[in-house]
């Protein structure tokens, strides 16, 4: 089946990101197509290139990146939620004259419509929140 996931929780602060990742990676290993992981609300923090979890803790951003590369998954971050929380790509950083950009590689900033688009084009969509 074609699946999509919505993630509304930040890494570390709640279990949402962990549950979402395990679901995503399990679905992929079972042969399902994961069309999109849509990060909204606090979930945008999964896409920060500046997070440094302790070495013995989950490297959340990196494992999303690795999964996306292995299974060709769209990792989409909602622009409005991201801007509010200080997750910015180069384009947004320039637009708002910010000191730097911090969108991790492999993640893409896009509009909120991509969530509905995922719901329309997938057979199933599951949300992970807190």
């Amino acid at each position: 089946m074609k699946l999509s996931i919505a993630v509304y929780g930040a890494p570390h602060s709640s279990e949402a990101s962990e549950s979402a990742y395990r679901f995503a990676s399990t679905a992929c290993s079972m042969g399902h197509a994961l069309l999109r992981v849509f990060f909204y609300h606090d979930g945008v923090h999964n896409a920060s290139s500046l997070a440094v979890p302790p070495q013995d803790e989950t490297q959340t951003t990196q494992r999303w990146q690795a999964l996306a590369v292995e299974f060709n998954i769209d990792l989409v971050v909602c622009v409005a939620a991201a801007l509010r929380r200080g997750i910015v790509n180069t384009e947004e950083a320039e637009r708002y004259e910010l000191e730097s950009q911090n969108l991790a590689e492999g993640f893409e900033i896009s509009g909120l419509g991509q969530l509905l688009d995922a719901a329309v084009n997938s057979d199933r969509l599951v949300s992970f929140g807190h």
Binding site: M1, L3, E15, A16, S19, R22, F23, T26, A27, M30, H32, D123, R124, L125, V126, S127, F128, G129, H130
Partner: protein, 102 residues
């Protein structure tokens, strides 16, 4: 077509599971994840409803990694089946849509 519900809050301090159970009907499944697995304990305030709904055809599951994390292994209501990560994926596929309660 029937629904899969996921619940991630403990029944001991939130109404989330109660709110979910109020909507459950035969052929629905409820998967307790994260802190939601506490709702599957024999001492759960929702135990009666879970047993009644189970008799009416609602299937109850608790996500095994979350149960194990919290040390609840042998404390669960009989009507709640342990589900693996693969079972979670299968439940999503088998049901027409998923309502996540948080």
């Amino acid at each position: 077509m029937s629904l899969l519900h996921t619940v991630n809050k403990s029944a001991f301090n939130a109404e989330t599971l109660l709110n979910c159970l109020a909507i459950c009907q035969a052929k629905h499944s409820v998967l307790l994840i994260e802190d939601g697995v506490y709702g599957a304990m024999k001492s759960s305030p929702c135990r009666n409803q879970i047993e009644q709904l189970s008799a009416q055809g609602v299937s109850f599951f608790a996500l095994a990694p979350d149960v194990k994390a919290r040390g609840l292994g042998d404390m669960l209501i009989a009507e709640v089946t342990l589900a693996s990560d693969q079972d979670f994926v299968n439940l999503v596929v088998l049901h027409s849509a998923t309502q996540s309660w948080y």
